[in-house]
């Protein structure tokens, strides 16, 4: 995957370092049932994650964005993204 390219290292490290912040943000948005906030944040995360070596997070974020934007219940994909972020945070060197 392209994210292995050395010239992306700096951006990739910056992205990985902010996954804990993303996790906390999605927990708060979910707790607040903030659909618009979830759509906006998931959209940004979906765009960047796949380019920086976290395709599973990108796919989960895209599914959450699409589900929330459609008006459907988004609790399940939101929980899945939060789980993916928690797992990535726990395995990311801090």
């Amino acid at each position: 995957m392209s994210a292995d390219e050395p010239w992306l290292d700096g951006l990739r490290q910056k992205f990985l370092a902010r996954l804990a912040e993303e996790h906390a943000a999605f927990c708060a948005l979910s707790e607040a049932a903030d659909r618009e906030g979830i759509i906006a944040r998931a959209h940004k995360l979906a765009g960047i994650a796949g380019m920086l070596g976290a395709p599973q997070i990108g796919e989960a974020a895209l599914l959450l964005e699409e589900t929330a934007r459609s008006g459907d219940a988004y609790a399940a994909p939101c929980a899945a993204l939060i789980d993916a972020l928690a797992a990535a945070t726990n395995t990311t060197p801090r």
Binding site: E5, L11, F15, A46, G47, I48, G50, L62
Partner: protein, 121 residues
């Protein structure tokens, strides 16, 4: 030299795109964070192609394209949309707006320049 304007509200993605274009010595790329900022740049710098993120606050990608088409100086500029998981219907809508095509996001930084070149004569 091929001049490219990349428009996206995500600063990290703009940085990746500019790094990706810097791999091609024949591409000169600039970026803008909003549709309005892009219009400002285009008033003094005309690229060979414009890449537009679809969803942006205030002035989105399709809105920016409409503004470009209304201005004689930019009416003929080739425009490509950057969007996540574009559906067939969405791509058809973009074509009706006179876009040259779509690049899927996330894009591969290593082939972005090549993808853009494919839209140019």
């Amino acid at each position: 030299m091929i001049r490219v304007l990349y428009v996206d509200d995500d600063a990290d993605i703009r940085e990746i795109a500019l790094l990706a274009f810097s791999l091609d010595p024949m591409i000169e790329a600039r970026s803008a964070a909003t549709g309005m900022a892009a219009l400002d740049i285009l008033a003094s710098w005309l690229p060979d192609i414009v890449l537009l993120d679809v969803m942006m606050p205030e002035l989105d990608g399709p809105g920016t394209l409409l503004r470009l088409r209304q201005n004689p100086a930019t009416a003929a500029l080739p425009v490509v949309f950057i969007t996540a998981r574009a559906q067939k219907q969405e791509i058809q809508n973009f074509a009706m707006l006179d876009a040259k095509g779509v690049i899927a996001k996330p894009f591969d930084p290593m082939t972005l320049a090549q993808q853009v070149r494919a839209f140019l004569p």
